[in-house]
């Protein structure tokens, strides 16, 4: 196990290096000049050239990459081309916001999807199953931005129960923070829940047909015990993989929800940085998201051993 963890941690290094090359190449190779974004449409050629020189964007791309990676090894992600702010500060300010929203959405999603998936599997081909799976298809089909606008209309504008924009940290004010989290978390959770519910159902169905479950049933083991102790634990490994992917999506792919609810998260930062060709910010953000994603996936891999004892990490 220890060896696996070390191996996994070491394997992160080439992954991050490759990601750094990919991100750096892609963002620099696509057309678009951050200098023009900064200076606007009234900029003149002389100004543009001077600014490009000032930012070091007139140097060969390899030199730019070398400088960036050199600084990165010293923990310096550089400064934003647009706002001149240290990229690390920008990310660290937004990462807790994104992580909180992601965690809330994930918790809500799991609290809906796991029971729904289990119930559907246990009541396979009954009305309960049909209704739940119908709702799942509905949830998958609804775009999150549309759902978000409907939630705002209902819970904020009509019922005036919840705030419709902004963000308050739950660490600063737990209850107020929670109020601000509900709608974004709900908007994200429904789609995530739909996918997990379907996966839980199919995985449970497969496990419930296994011989050892039939044996347990025939021996008179209580049904609840069989479902939660034997079936769910074994059915959970593929569900866990899906959850791992979803965390990745939540870390960087929630731009629309962040825009609608005016949440200052990483997704919005990446999107704005790409639009403005703010190279250091794009590179820094994607690198940070990759790091978190790689570690989440490593944690998911490690969790397999708990849910499925057949999985062994140490090569013999």
């Amino acid at each position: 196990m220890k060896k696996y963890v070390i191996r996994r941690l070491v394997s992160v290094i080439p992954v991050l290096w490759l990601v750094s090359i990919l991100v750096f190449s892609l963002i620099h190779l696509v057309p678009g000049d951050p200098v023009l974004v900064i200076l606007g449409t009234t900029a003149e050629k002389v100004q543009v050239e001077a600014m490009r020189h000032k930012l070091g964007l007139d140097r060969p791309i390899l030199v730019q990459y070398g400088t960036w990676i050199g600084n990165l090894l010293q923990g310096d992600l550089g400064h934003s081309i647009i706002s001149d702010e240290p990229v690390m500060e920008m990310i660290l300010r937004r990462m807790p916001v994104t992580l909180t929203v992601a965690a809330a959405a994930l918790l809500l999603s799991l609290s809906i999807s796991i029971p729904t998936g289990i119930l559907s599997a246990l009541r396979h081909n009954t009305y309960t199953d049909y209704v739940f799976m119908g709702l799942v298809i509905l949830a998958v089909s609804m775009p999150s931005f549309w759902l978000a606008l409907l939630f705002i209309l209902l819970f904020s504008v009509e019922l005036k129960l919840l705030p419709m924009m902004g963000y308050v940290s739950i660490f600063a004010d737990f209850w107020e923070g929670l109020r601000y989290l509900v709608l974004p978390a709900m908007s994200l959770a429904f789609i995530l829940a739909a996918v997990v519910a379907r996966m839980t159902r199919s995985s449970m169905l497969e496990v419930l047909r296994e011989d050892y479950i039939v044996t347990a049933l025939s021996k008179g083991t209580p049904r609840r015990f069989i479902v939660f102790k034997h079936a769910l634990k074994n059915a959970f490994a593929p569900v866990l993989t899906i959850i791992g992917f979803q965390i990745g999506f939540l870390l960087g792919g929630t731009v629309v929800i962040e825009d609608i609810y005016s949440i200052p998260g990483v997704g919005r930062l990446i999107f704005t940085a790409i639009t403005n060709r703010d190279y250091p910010v794009v590179q820094g953000c994607i690198l940070m998201v990759t790091i978190v994603y790689v570690f989440v996936n490593a944690a998911v891999d490690l969790a397999y051993a708990y849910f499925d004892p057949r999985v062994s990490f140490d090569k013999k």
């Binding site: 678009g32 449409t41 009234t42 001149d84 419709m164 902004g166 005016s262 200052p264 704005t272």
Partner: protein, 519 residues
């Protein structure tokens, strides 16, 4: 008795009227004014940004310039009391207002003005928006505690526009504070009616009333005159999604929403629980099509004429901004003194038959011409869709290429396009407004007449003469069609009914003074 009672009643009502009218309508101090902004600020340092949002928020609250505009859009002294230009146009003396306080309570003096004017010209200061415009400034000298002299190597006829409210306003900042912070703006300090509170990035900007404000007094006249700061605080919330902005207004989370979504303006105007204002500002962005002069067909004047005669600008305006724009071919903004409705007659008017005639002269055989656009600003894309159909109707075959905004800007600057759908921010001075007809243009237009007119503009101080030359340039654009302007967009704002005293004077940003809450 009856007469006396009647008279008494009249006197009573007049007295009540006299007493109560001013009481009911008297502006009141207090409250937090909450508005939205579609994008976040890009910078707190107004000297290094040309982003409209930075000027609209910080340029109207925290920072103030040396000159600004009256309600007829004439440039007038603001933070300077008076000025004197030497007869040769090479020495401009500015006498600053006395007793103007910065937000840190220090008085604004000549050293601060010199520092700011030097700062925006400094080649080592990144992003200085006005550096190029001020390249003929040789030196800025302090000639008294409240007096500076700007020494020029060559006259700059539009210098007052450069020193006035603009995109890239040269706001006055305290020298000592900036120098103690390594020439960086850590917390914006200016002389404006509201002082900076906080900037929560991607969330909101908060400002509070500057109690010791002393820059402006007298009758309100454009940006001049008394700036009554009725609100205790101003909060500008970053809300990118238009639907959310309107819902926040409905919910009571906002008092005002500027930049309304065009498709919704008509419906919003019908509502009795909102005040909706729309109008044409003199600095309104103008939407146009550039053509590349290195293209075999687009370089031919007959082909450009065919393109221009095929366009129905009224319909394009309806399609792109739901009619909330002023259709015109004029490079002279319709609100500026140089403009007159008569000018419209000189422009190519919608005439498909004439467009076909011009097209026949070019030998065009239906080759595909690409229109480059992006969706960052929806009218930029929508005007393409309308124009494409109009050009197709006269036999011009076009194809739309959509790119992202950064790519769009780069290809505009490199001239890597055939037809380019674009927008320019309106400028108050003719020279800047007609920049697209200068030698430095990006699309390959070379016309010695145009360059000569601009050169003549550079050498005259007389506003009448400037306007005359401006009209000559416009005349040239009608005959040459170096680009095709479609419309100037209208500004818009929705306010809750309790906001009183609002007047839609919007020039690089709406006034945030002299209006108040009724309740």
């Amino acid at each position: 008795m009856g007469k006396k009672f009647g008279l008494g009643l009249v006197v009573f009502f007049i007295a009540v009227g006299l007493i109560s009218t001013p009481v009911l309508s008297a502006p009141k101090r207090g409250g937090i004014y909450r508005s939205s902004m579609a994008t976040d600020l890009t910078n707190l340092d107004l000297h290094k940004t040309q982003a409209q949002i930075d000027n609209a928020v910080l340029g109207m609250t925290v920072y103030e310039p040396l000159f600004t505009y009256d309600e007829k859009f004439n440039v007038k002294p603001f933070l300077c009391e008076s000025y004197k230009m030497s007869p040769d146009g090479l020495n401009l003396t500015l006498n600053l207002k006395k007793g103007v306080k910065f937000h840190n309570k220090m008085e604004m003096k000549a050293e601060d003005a010199k520092f700011c004017l030097d700062r925006v010209r400094d080649p080592n200061f990144p992003g200085a928006a006005q550096r190029n415009s001020l390249q003929n400034v040789k030196e800025v000298k302090v000639t008294g505690p409240y007096q500076v002299q700007i020494i020029l190597s060559k006259p700059i006829p539009n210098i007052f526009y450069i020193l006035a409210t603009s995109v890239g306003t040269i706001g006055m900042m305290p020298q000592k504070v900036l120098e103690s912070h390594g020439n960086k703006v850590l917390k914006p300090i200016g002389t404006g009616p509201y002082e900076f509170g906080a900037w929560e990035r991607d969330t909101k900007v908060m400002l509070k009333r500057f109690e010791a404000y002393s820059s402006a007094d007298g009758p309100v006249n454009g940006y001049l005159g008394k700036r009554n700061r009725y609100f205790d605080q101003l909060i500008f919330n970053v809300m990118k999604e238009p639907a959310t902005r309107i819902m926040a207004l409905d919910r009571g989370d906002l008092d005002a929403v500027p930049v309304l979504p065009y498709p919704q303006i008509d419906d919003l105007k019908k509502r009795k629980d909102l005040q909706v204002r729309t109008g044409l500002a003199p600095d309104a962005p103008w939407y146009l099509f550039y053509v590349n002069f290195n293209h075999p067909y687009l370089s031919k004047v007959d082909f450009r004429m065919a393109l221009a005669y095929a366009l129905d600008r009224k319909e394009i305006t309806k399609a792109a901004v739901w009619g909330y724009g002023t259709p015109t071919f004029s490079v002279i903004p319709p609100m500026l003194p140089a403009y007159s409705p008569e000018l419209e007659k000189m422009a190519p008017q919608y005439d498909p038959a004439k467009a076909k005639e011009f097209l026949q002269k070019t030998g065009y055989k239906g080759e595909k011409i690409k229109i480059l656009t992006s969706k960052n600003y929806t009218p930029m894309y929508d005007q393409v869709l309308a124009a494409q159909a109009m050009w197709a109707a006269v036999g011009i075959n076009t194809e739309v290429e959509v790119v992202d905004w950064a790519t769009h800007l780069t290809r505009w600057q490199k001239g890597e396009h055939e037809i380019l759908s674009f927008a320019m921010i309106g400028r108050m001075d003719p020279l800047s407004q007609a920049w697209a007809l200068s030698k430095d243009n990006y699309y390959g237009y070379k016309n010695q007449d145009a360059f000569a007119i601009r050169e003549a503009m550079l050498n005259t101080w007389d506003p009448q003469k400037q306007n005359e030359l401006f009209r000559k340039l416009y005349d040239l654009t009608c005959r040459e069609v170096p680009f095709m302007i479609n419309f100037y967009i209208h500004n818009s704002i929705a306010l809750k009914p309790h906001v009183k005293g609002y007047e839609n004077f919007d020039l690089f940003g709406g006034r945030v003074w002299n209006y108040y809450f009724e309740k």
